[in-house]
């Protein structure tokens, strides 16, 4: 039926020349992804890309597939997507491959099927870094509560698994309460409240998404009078994840101790970079890159550019290269 | 507004050139009606003539398409001002306005409980009111658990107790037994004596003569005549209603069922705890057996047991010598038993489905192979029913909810007869049916009997029972009398009241 090339110039955001490049946003209700969404047009303009209006799949794989089909109908020559459900995208990837439309996957790696490049940070490293930080701060013993994401999310699972492995191998003296939250702040808050009643001596928290868990956690600790400086024995060490500006504020105030900055700006920048490279027909090899990251071959035909995800503590929270220090504020 | 002040007293209520249409159906066409203060006015007409529609205009439930309503010479309040309407008119509606999940007491004083409800006082008030109307019902009971008759009595008590000076009763007697009707009439006469104006609707013309002073006849949505009841005799009234100058024929005696005719329906030792005990009845093919009794006699439960709606605690029902599995309507149908249930709204009809579909539910299987229901054949069958039972409807495809009360009842009867049953069980089959239709309904029953159907007819109406070959009277769950044809009204009434022997 429809082959590429039949669609007239339908690029919604005109101006720039060149092959239309499509971006699908995974969701519109988290600070991280909203920052990403803001970076996309900015970087597209900087590098003169012909960017189509980004679509949004609202965390729904069926919508992502529908959006992809609509975008290809409209003549997209490369697609940047962030499939939160990494299994369900296989068929779509195969179809896109048939039509020779390259795909850049951001943040997640498809379980099956090929893409031109995966742009993500190593989520296992997030869990690892959080574990090592907490383990060191607690001196290898104590009780830690961990707000997991949804079991069906690969990123959440990677963080949980790495955290659990690291804790049991390096800090067997620390008890971990892993709470499933489905990424909901209210569930995390309820779980923390219950656990604190059960174990008033909890002294560490690892939250896998600062965007949703930060405010509820701080609010609860505040009402329980547990927001005290690290010098106080009652202090609970909190490690977060995401690197949004509010987390940095909390670090500066001493309310939390660290966060892993997930580079929203780099995600956007290199997603578009690789999309353009794909259209231009460039190829990449595993190895160090020119932007301080490493391309690894995770399986046959699948390259992944693992962007650095720095651990932010009081020491480096004012580093102006952190994305959380660049937006808004 | 007393008569003493002069001759120019305004009517207590007046409808002036009112019309009302429902889609393509004209329910009222340019009807005018004036009721003098203190009079008891009868409104009669065949099923679907527009009586209930007129009631809905006079009670402000609906506004007329054209024309106007006035009370005491002043225009009626706007339709939205329910409180104003309620102070002018109280009504016993033809369709139940009981709220099933509320208690009897609350139903009685709905929206009149006072801003802060004092439950104890409310129950006591309700108990007094019920006692006054001799209704043996617990005020704390859930209204939905009451029987049809008790519910009707509650509605009547509610309307009469509102203190309005104008009261409408739309077929209040259709669901009452003889004693209850007597009590109601006593009450109406007393109210009338205190100057209350009433509009009374009934298909029992003798009731019109018993309580009313003036009568208005509607036919096909139009006003036909208004006259003092003394000036129109029974035949003239029927002629005005039907538009034909033929009087009612007397009930023709049925030829006795031949002695050797086999028993089609046999009830032996049938018992339902708390309802009836050890009922033994034989109904022969072609025989019509009437069953009557007072409200708690168990007659309805008995009929419902035979129809498969209830499961007897002991005893058997046999049809043509074969026992019928108890408590299952499909089994009863398979055995050849057709049923006209008591409450057409609750268990008789599916309101959203068409007349055709409702009338042919049990025989849907016969309209095509493999469960296929040919719409053409269904419509044709339904059209035949509409003609045979004189159902006033805009067509077989009209939803049955658009029918007037009596016509809906005819659909239920048509349904019971559709499967050509060998045993027909009827519960109050002519409730709410107009005189002429009643004839045709009972005619259909007689025809079925003539073709060899055994009929068990539960009814409170002597007119129905007159068509029976014999009448069984039940009292507190037992058959206390069996009256062969030729009984006198007093015999039956005495037996029903439990005063015979």
């Amino acid at each position: 039926a429809c082959d590429s090339g039949t669609a007239p110039g339908t690029a919604a955001s005109g101006g720039a020349q060149g092959a239309p490049i499509a971006v699908d946003l995974p969701r519109a209700d988290s600070d991280f992804w909203n920052s990403y969404a803001k970076y996309i047009p900015r970087f597209a303009k900087d590098s003169g890309l012909n960017l189509m209006t980004p679509t949004n799949s609202q965390n729904d794989i069926a919508k992502l597939v529908a959006n992809t089909q609509a975008l290809t109908s409209q003549g997209a020559k490369a697609i940047v997507m962030a499939p939160q459900d990494t299994g369900a995208i296989a068929t779509t990837l195969a179809q896109l491959e048939q039509r020779k439309i390259p795909v850049v996957a951001v943040d997640t790696r498809p379980d099956k099927g090929n893409v031109y490049m995966v742009v993500r940070a190593d989520n296992r490293a997030y869990g690892q870094k959080a574990c090592e930080f907490l383990g060191a701060k607690l001196g290898g013993k104590g009780k830690v509560i961990e707000f997991q994401g949804a079991l069906s999310s690969v990123n959440g699972r990677d963080r949980s698994e790495a955290f659990a492995e690291c804790m049991s191998s390096k800090f067997p003296g620390i008890t971990v309460f892993a709470e499933p939250t489905d990424w909901e702040g209210a569930k995390a808050s309820a779980a923390l409240q219950t656990r604190l009643a059960q174990h008033p001596d909890i002294n560490g928290i690892y939250m896998q998404a600062g965007g949703v868990f930060l405010a509820p956690t701080l609010q609860l600790l505040r009402t329980k009078n547990l927001l005290v400086p690290p010098s106080d024995p009652k202090h609970i060490f909190v490690v977060s994840n995401d690197g949004i500006p509010q987390e940095f504020d909390a670090i500066r105030k001493g309310e939390i101790d660290a966060t892993v900055s997930q580079p929203a700006d780099l995600y956007a920048k290199y997603a578009l970079f690789y999309a353009k490279a794909a259209v231009d027909g460039r190829t990449f090899q595993p190895g160090k890159t020119d932007h301080g990251s490493t391309i690894v071959q995770v399986r046959d035909g699948l390259l992944e550019d693992q962007l650095p995800a720095p651990l932010v503590t009081k020491d480096n929270v004012d580093d102006s290269t952190l994305w959380g220090n660049q937006i808004g504020k | 507004m007393t008569d003493a002040t002069g001759a120019s007293t305004a009517p207590a209520v007046e409808a002036v050139h009112t019309s009302k249409r429902f889609g393509a159906t004209t329910a009222l066409h340019d009807v005018s009606l004036a009721i003098a203060p203190g009079s008891t006015h009868a409104l009669v007409g065949r099923n679907g003539a527009g009586k209930s529609t007129l009631v809905s205009l006079l009670t402000g439930l609906q506004g007329p398409d054209s024309g106007a309503v006035a009370f005491d010479g002043r225009p009626a309040p706007p339709v939205s001002d329910r409180a104003a309407w309620r102070s002018r008119v109280a009504c016993v509606f033809q369709r139940s306005t009981i709220i099933p999940d509320l208690s009897v007491a609350e139903n009685l004083f709905l929206n009149r409980q006072g801003d802060l409800v004092r439950w104890g006082a409310l129950r006591r008030r309700a108990a007094r009111l019920l006692e006054e109307y001799a209704v043996d019902v617990d005020p704390a009971a859930r209204a939905g658990d009451l029987g049809v008759e008790q519910r009707q009595l509650v509605e009547i008590a509610r309307a009469l107790s509102q203190g309005a000076r104008f009261i409408i009763l739309d077929e209040p007697t259709a669901r009452l037994d003889a004693t209850a009707i007597d009590r109601l009439f006593g009450r109406l006469r007393a109210l009338s004596a205190t100057g209350v104006t009433m509009l009374f609707i009934s298909h029992h013309l003798q009731e019109v003569y018993a309580v009313c002073d003036t009568v208005t006849v509607l036919r096909d949505a139009r006003h036909v005549l208004t006259a003092p009841v003394a000036d129109v005799d029974h035949d003239a009234l029927v002629a005005a209603m039907t538009g034909e100058a033929v009087g009612l024929t007397a009930v023709e005696p049925r030829p006795p069922v031949a002695a050797g005719t086999p028993v089609a329906l046999r009830l032996s030792g049938l018992t339902l705890r708390d309802s009836y005990t050890s009922i033994d009845v034989d109904v022969r093919a072609g025989e019509i057996v009437g069953v009557t009794g007072s409200g708690s006699s168990g007659k309805v439960a008995l009929a419902e047991t035979v129809g498969g709606l209830r499961r007897a605690t002991a005893g058997t029902v046999t049809v043509a010598g074969r026992p019928v599995p108890p408590g299952s309507v499909p089994a009863a149908l398979a055995a050849g038993i057709g049923l006209v249930p008591q409450d057409r709204h609750r268990e008789g009809l599916v309101p959203l489905l068409s007349v055709a579909e409702n009338a042919t539910l049990p025989i849907a299987a016969s309209f095509g192979p493999l469960g296929y229901v040919s719409p053409g054949r269904r419509t044709a069958t339904a059209r035949a029913f509409i003609d045979r039972y004189d159902i006033r409807t805009s067509g077989p495809s009209a939803p049955v909810s658009s029918l007037s009360g009596g016509n809906a009842q005819k659909v239920v009867l048509a349904r019971a007869l559709s499967a050509s049953p060998s045993v027909l069980v009827l519960i109050n089959p002519t409730a709410g049916v107009d005189v002429r239709s009643k004839e045709s309904l009972l005619g259909a029953v007689r025809t079925a009997a003539g073709d060899g159907t055994a009929v068990l007819m539960v009814s409170d109406e002597l007119d129905d029972l007159r068509h029976c070959d014999r009448v069984l009277v039940m009292f507190h769950g037992r058959v206390v009398a069996a009256l062969p044809a030729g009984w006198s009204d007093t015999e039956v009434v005495a037996a029903v009241e439990g005063v015979s022997q």
Binding site: R27, A28, D29, S30, D31, N34, A37, L151, F177, E179, P180, E184, G185, A186, S189, A190, Q193, T194, R195, A197, Q198, G211, V212, L214, A215, P216, Q219, L220, R222, T223, G328, K329 | L61, S80, R82, A83, C91, R95, S96, T97, I99, P100, L102, S103, E106, L110, N111, Q113, G114, D115, L116, V117, D136, V137, D138, A140, A141, R142, D145, S296
Partner: protein
């Protein structure tokens, strides 16, 4: 047919239906105590109650609407939109506000007003245009959620004025204010539905709207008011949640409506209108809250926690059915 036993049994039945869930609650309390002695500590019980306050306000609203024979799915989106709008109007643009920077004392009144307006709009569309309540409020749910995302750009709002934080955080006489507030509102609701004419009118309308109208009840007006009260309660729930969690999350309230219906229906409220009590609904809320708390305390594995949760609900239902011997309606 003597009437006395019938009367007794009538009363007994009505009472029993209200108390259906009490055995389940007792069983849960015992199980909880066995699972972990902490369970019965006053701190934990207060936690459970506080965590249920927002849900219970929504259940209060939905129960009244259900008794009136209607439906409101949009309550859960009001939980998010009302605080989001109220806060966005008063905080500076730099904190993701709308840039209007109205005086922050206005935040709470605006939040409640938004709830009122949403309820009024729902009522208008349903009653004036004769539209299906299910679809109107489903559409409204999507629109309001969309508006929230549109207004906030999908961001969480972190900079809250103290007045917004107060209700969800304050403690009175050792108990969180939100628990007092819920208790008070439920008491008011139970009194209004049980002993006041307008409350009884809601039952009448839900039971048979024609009959209610014939009895002189202004059913449209009553239902409209019920929708508006529902909207205000939902906004209040949003306010409590915002205070408790310290931010307006972009997804605040999302997915709650299922739990709201579950609590109400488990508590004996009928989806067909005219039936149910606030006390029963409150029991439903408690049952769900206790189950959640016990599962957390028991440390059921994340992999199986959901299956266990659903199973317990089903079993609780079957038990409630068996103990009262009363069939529920669809």
């Amino acid at each position: 047919m003597t009437t006395v036993p019938a009367r007794l049994s009538g009363i007994r039945l009505a009472r029993m239906r209200d108390l259906t869930l009490v055995p389940a609650i007792v069983v849960l309390l015992v199980v909880g105590a066995v699972v972990d002695p902490v369970f019965l500590s006053s701190a934990n019980i207060v936690n459970v109650l506080q965590q249920q306050t927002e849900l219970s306000l929504l259940v209060l609203a939905e129960t009244v609407i259900l008794i009136g024979g209607r439906f409101d799915l949009s309550l859960e989106s009001t939980v998010g939109l009302a605080p989001a709008l109220g806060v966005a109007l008063v905080i500076p643009a730099a904190s993701n506000g709308l840039g209007t920077s109205w005086p922050s004392a206005l935040a709470v009144p605006i939040i409640l007003l938004v709830g009122l307006l949403v309820g009024a709009l729902n009522g208008l569309l349903i009653l004036r245009f004769g539209l299906s309540a299910f679809i109107v409020t489903l559409g409204m749910l999507i629109v309001l959620r969309g508006l929230q995302i549109g207004i906030t750009g999908g961001q969480n709002l972190f900079e809250l004025p103290p007045s917004v934080l107060y209700l969800g955080n304050a403690t009175w006489l050792g108990l969180p204010l939100s628990i007092w507030l819920c208790g008070l509102l439920f008491a008011l609701g139970i009194a209004a539905l049980g002993w006041f004419r307008h409350g009884r009118a809601v039952y009448a309308i839900g039971g048979n709207v024609d009959a209610a109208r014939a009895a002189g009840i202004r059913s449209d007006r009553v239902i409209w008011i019920v929708f508006m009260v529902g909207g205000v309660l939902a906004a209040l729930a949003g306010l409590l949640m915002t205070g408790r969690l310290g931010s307006v999350a972009a997804a605040q309230g999302q997915g709650m409506i299922f739990t709201v219906f579950a609590a109400a229906v488990i508590g004996g409220v009928s989806m067909d209108g005219g039936k149910g009590t606030l006390f029963g609904a409150l029991c439903g809320v408690l049952v769900l809250g206790l189950i959640n708390n016990i599962l957390t305390l028991a440390g059921v594995s994340a992999q199986w926690i959901q299956a266990v949760y659903g199973l317990i609900i089903l079993v609780a239902l079957i038990l409630a059915r068996v103990t009262t011997g009363k069939a529920q309606d669809s």
